[in-house]
């Protein structure tokens, strides 16, 4: 685990050595503010709550997280530095976990920069912080799942761009299938399709946590998806190592 943390620290710092990280955070915060103030109409609505911000988060994160993870393995593959990584006296799971935790640290920092929204609401009204805590917990769980998916996808490519595209596709699909609009489109299909979509999709589960209810089933789902893709990532790298 200590090796993972060392690697995570390295990955985390490496994000901030490039302007890309700052652009990412700026875009993320801008998207959050636009969704909160303009799309959800905070002032017109007049309610001291953050639903307008959180309700767009599954989509915002689905777009931005693959941008963070695309380079993680793809760049190693492209540069050939993966060979070097394989020679490190670290277990494959430490490598994967290191990259995951480093990226998660960065996502957490990005979320931290949106704390101005609840603070503003608290100043203007009496904010219930329970759903806010739930919302940020849900954002971290969702972010974790996206990061795990993005890392796994990245491990398959030697070029960052296809990793980004496939990452978007997969994260977007998992976000979208649970959305009520998509479920509405499934009306013509057999009932089990929409039930499966509702079960697999991220959106509905995110809504439940975001309203302030941390249900074991939702938490377990996010964690298990994260765990599954991290395991698949480890398996993928181990296969590579074996091939090498």
């Amino acid at each position: 685990m200590s090796k993972s943390l060392v690697l995570a620290g390295k990955e985390f710092r490496s994000y901030f050595s490039s302007w890309l990280a700052y652009i990412f955070i700026a875009l993320f915060v801008a998207a959050a503010l636009v969704s909160f103030f303009f799309l959800a109409g905070f002032f017109a609505d007049g309610r001291a709550e953050l639903r307008g911000y959180f309700s767009w988060l599954p989509l915002t994160l689905a777009i931005l997280v693959p941008g963070l993870t695309m380079r993680q393995w793809a760049k190693e593959n492209e540069m050939g530095s993966i060979e070097l990584l394989m020679t490190l006296p670290a277990h494959t799971r430490d490598l994967v976990l290191g990259k995951f935790l480093g990226t998660m640290g960065f996502v957490a920092v990005a979320l931290l920069f949106t704390l101005g929204i609840p603070i503003t609401v608290e100043i203007l009204g009496d904010l219930d912080w329970g759903p806010v805590v739930g919302g940020y917990a849900a954002a971290l769980l969702l972010g974790g799942a996206y990061v795990a998916i993005g890392l796994y996808v990245s491990s398959w490519f030697h070029d960052q761009f296809p990793a980004l595209l496939v990452g978007w596709l997969l994260c977007g699909l998992l976000a979208a299938v649970g959305h009520e609009t998509v479920l509405g489109w499934c009306e013509a299909l057999p009932a089990f399709v929409s039930r499966t979509f509702a079960f697999v999709g991220f959106w509905d589960r995110f809504r439940a946590i975001e309203r302030g209810v941390l249900d074991l089933r939702d938490v377990a789902y996010y964690l298990s998806v994260t765990g599954l893709f991290l395991y698949l990532n480890v398996a993928r790298i181990r296969t590579k190592r074996w091939t090498a």
Partner: protein, 707 residues
């Protein structure tokens, strides 16, 4: 260890399968959750938990809910919340709650049963959005059944409401726990009251049965007379002498004709078939035919029918609420000038209250008596009431009666479409209320910080929009609602139209609290025929802004008073009663008004709202049609319900109703301040980001080797 590639793939697949199985297993662990909200709004309240723990028999909750794909997308997200809550009932109730979900479209028999026994029909919703407009029907109903009691049905209308505060049309759940717990309480009360029901009757109940003897019955009904006899004898024994069962002589045709006893000619029978009973209580009698109920019905069903009639005639099972308002003239004549015009709004109010209370309509224009068993009296928009009516209300309060007054000192009723202003007018109750420390101020409150208003009563019949000062909104800023008062904690907001204001002065023995207040910039203007909106001169406010002599500040729009009330007639003689022929209504038991006034009350409670039109539900309905953002008047009805909870000391339901705060308003900002707030939110993270980048950059530079 050498790792085979196939092994890796297989293990990865096994992990994936395990993850799916894990989630399927975890999916069964219901109720393991943390409710992070203030007030635990997504968890069952202690009141409900106590109710469930105290159930003697299991309560059955059946959810008739369409499959997700058949429910419109606006309603679909709300269904899991309803089902989650039902699961909470099941988990917390243990063996005392049986939960079933039925998808009516997939179970034809259940659908028929739902329609026949519980009158459940698919909900038809009209939805409009940017893409389309359409109609979709779906099921979303709950049925609560408690052994020996009538089933109670909650339909979608009872569970879902329009979000009146949203910018666009959106639906949200009502307080489902409140509705469901209320239903369980009602069902249990229905059962409990059966045992105590007869005690409530002041006199003996005579139940005369007109039933064809068993030997003359068709084969399928041969057992019915015996079953009914047995049942009624059992009821009579339980009634402790209050129920007398009499078997009528079916040979007395004159009697049958006089009482209009229903009979049925059955093929193969040479005599008419009688299966009826008449319940007589004092002067009242109710006829009941069992012909509609086939012989296959169980004893419980037949007992349910009989008890239903007994219950409907029983005093005090439901709380009785008297709504005193000006009722339409029965002969259609227009009222005399000076009297307010017909307010059909309060008939809608009576219907709304009728869902939970036994509502008695009282005509303020002819208020000469009050029913003796009123639990609560609501006085709506009184105008120029005479002294005798005021005395009647005073003595009702002295008898411990609970009251709500909605009144002011101006007439802003504009239903004739010729006036839009507010004219001075007295209610006739000013002196009476002053005795209890409630002084109704002259003039109307105008508030420059009001929201947009929609006037349905413009002369041209068009809709006018604009922040009219005569439309006073409270609760949209902090300080408008007294959230220190328990039942107001979760209250959202209210809207008044030309409200009056209240000044509270201390009275020994009484506790007074303000409940709703106007904005800090509001002021009072003298009511006069000239007080009309003038959009030409004041296009933004419709009224002249506060003049130098009009002091700005918050004004009390609603208040509560509790304690021992002194009588206004404590030291003076009662006003003389007009000699009039007793009406049919007066033949019913009514409150005896003694010539010697009762000088002070038993501890009781009162709510005063300084606005006659506060509960104009017709206006509320019209507003709702115009769009959700205009529908604040609907929220006024919620204030009424909260107040009734407090007045009737129904603390259990009030505790559920007021858990958490569903609406938390933000401070209203001018457009400039809004823009500055948004700008700050955009700029500060950028500054923070720049600071972070700068710090990291300098740290890296400092670490860089000098050579």
């Amino acid at each position: 260890m050498k790792i085979d590639r196939t092994q890796i793939v297989i293990s990865a697949l096994l992990v994936a399968v395990n993850v799916i199985l894990f989630n399927l297993i975890v999916g069964e662990f219901r109720g393991l959750r943390a409710d992070l909200t203030d007030g635990k709004v997504f968890s069952l309240s202690p009141t409900t938990e106590r109710l469930l723990a105290g159930l003697k028999e299991p309560v059955e909750i059946t959810a008739y809910v369409s499959a997700d794909e058949n429910i419109h997308e606006d309603v679909r997200p709300l269904v899991p919340e309803v089902m989650d809550l039902l699961e909470e009932y099941e988990i917390k109730g243990g063996s005392k709650v049986r939960l079933r979900r039925i998808v009516p479209e997939e179970d034809e028999k259940a659908e028929k049963e739902a329609r026949r026994d519980y009158r459940i029909r698919p909900q038809i919703g009209i939805f409009r959005d940017a893409r389309a407009q359409g109609v979709q029907s779906f099921y979303l109903s709950l049925v609560v059944k408690y052994p020996g009691s009538d089933a109670i049905t909650l339909n979608a209308d009872d569970l879902i409401t329009q979000n009146v505060f949203a910018q666009e049309q959106s639906l949200e759940l009502k307080n489902v726990e409140l509705e469901l717990t209320k239903a369980i309480k009602k069902a249990v009360l229905g059962f409990e009251s059966k045992r105590n029901l007869f005690r409530r009757f002041p006199t003996t109940i005579e139940l005369t049965t007109f039933i064809t003897p068993a030997d003359q019955m068709p084969p399928s009904l041969k057992d019915v007379p015996g079953r009914i006899d047995e049942l009624l004898d059992d009821l009579a024994a339980r009634s402790e002498g209050k129920l007398v069962h009499v078997k009528a002589d079916l040979g007395d045709e004159a009697l049958l004709k006089r009482l209009r006893v229903p009979a049925l000619d059955v093929e193969g029978l040479d005599h008419p078939l009688h299966l009826a009973m008449i319940l007589k209580l004092g002067d009242q009698s109710r006829r009941l035919s069992l012909l509609d109920y086939d012989g296959a019905r169980s004893n419980e069903d037949i007992e349910g029918v009989i008890m239903g009639v007994v219950r409907s005639a029983s005093p005090g099972v439901l709380r009785r609420v008297g709504v005193a308002q000006y009722l339409p003239d029965p002969d259609g004549r227009m009222r005399m000038m000076g009297q307010p015009s017909l307010p059909p709004a309060y008939l809608a109010l009576a219907r709304t209250l009728g869902q939970d209370y036994d509502v008695v309509d009282l005509d303020l224009g002819q208020l000469r008596s009050l029913p003796a068993d009123l639990d609560l009296l609501i006085v709506m928009e009184p105008a120029k009431l005479d002294e005798r009516a005021a005395y009647l209300i005073d003595q009702y309060v002295m008898g411990g009666g609970k009251t709500i007054f909605c009144l002011d000192r101006s007439d802003s009723s504009m239903l004739d479409g010729t006036r839009q202003g507010a004219e001075a007018r007295d209610s006739g109750l000013e002196e009476l209320l002053a005795t209890w420390g409630v002084k109704l101020q002259e003039g109307v409150v105008l508030d420059p910080n009001c929201g947009e208003f929609f006037d349905t009563r413009s002369r041209e019949g068009t809709l006018l929009e604009g922040p009219w000062m005569s439309s006073v909104e409270v609760g949209l800023d902090e300080g408008g609602v007294n959230r220190e008062v328990g039942y107001m904690r979760a209250f959202e907001a209210a809207r008044f139209w030309f409200p009056g204001s209240i000044e509270l002065t201390p009275v020994a023995g009484l506790s007074q609290n303000w409940l709703l207040r106007s904005g800090a910039e509001s002021f009072v203007r003298k009511a006069s025929p000239q007080l009309v909106p003038d959009l030409a001169s004041w296009p933004k406010s419709a009224f002249e802004p506060a003049r130098a002599d009009e002091k700005r500040g918050r004004r009390i729009l609603a208040a509560e008073i509790s304690g021992v009330f002194p009588s206004h007639w404590a030291d003076k003689p009662a006003p003389k009663k007009e000699k009039e022929a007793p009406t049919e209504e007066e033949a019913e038991p009514s409150l005896e008004i003694a010539d010697q006034p009762i000088p002070s009350s038993r501890p009781t409670r009162m709510v005063v709202v300084a606005n006659g039109e506060f509960l104009d539900l017709v206006q509320a309905q019209v507003e709702s049609q115009a769009g959700p953002k205009y529908a604040l008047f609907s929220a006024n009805a919620r204030f009424l319900v909260n107040a009734i909870d407090w007045l009737l000391e129904d603390d259990d339901l009030a505790a559920i109703r007021n858990r958490g705060r569903s609406f938390r308003p933000i401070e209203r900002l001018e457009e400039g301040a809004q823009n500055r707030t948004m700008l700050l939110n955009f700029v500060l993270p950028l500054v923070g980001l720049a600071a972070l980048g700068g710090t990291l950059y300098w740290r890296r530079r400092l670490r860089r080797p000098l050579i």
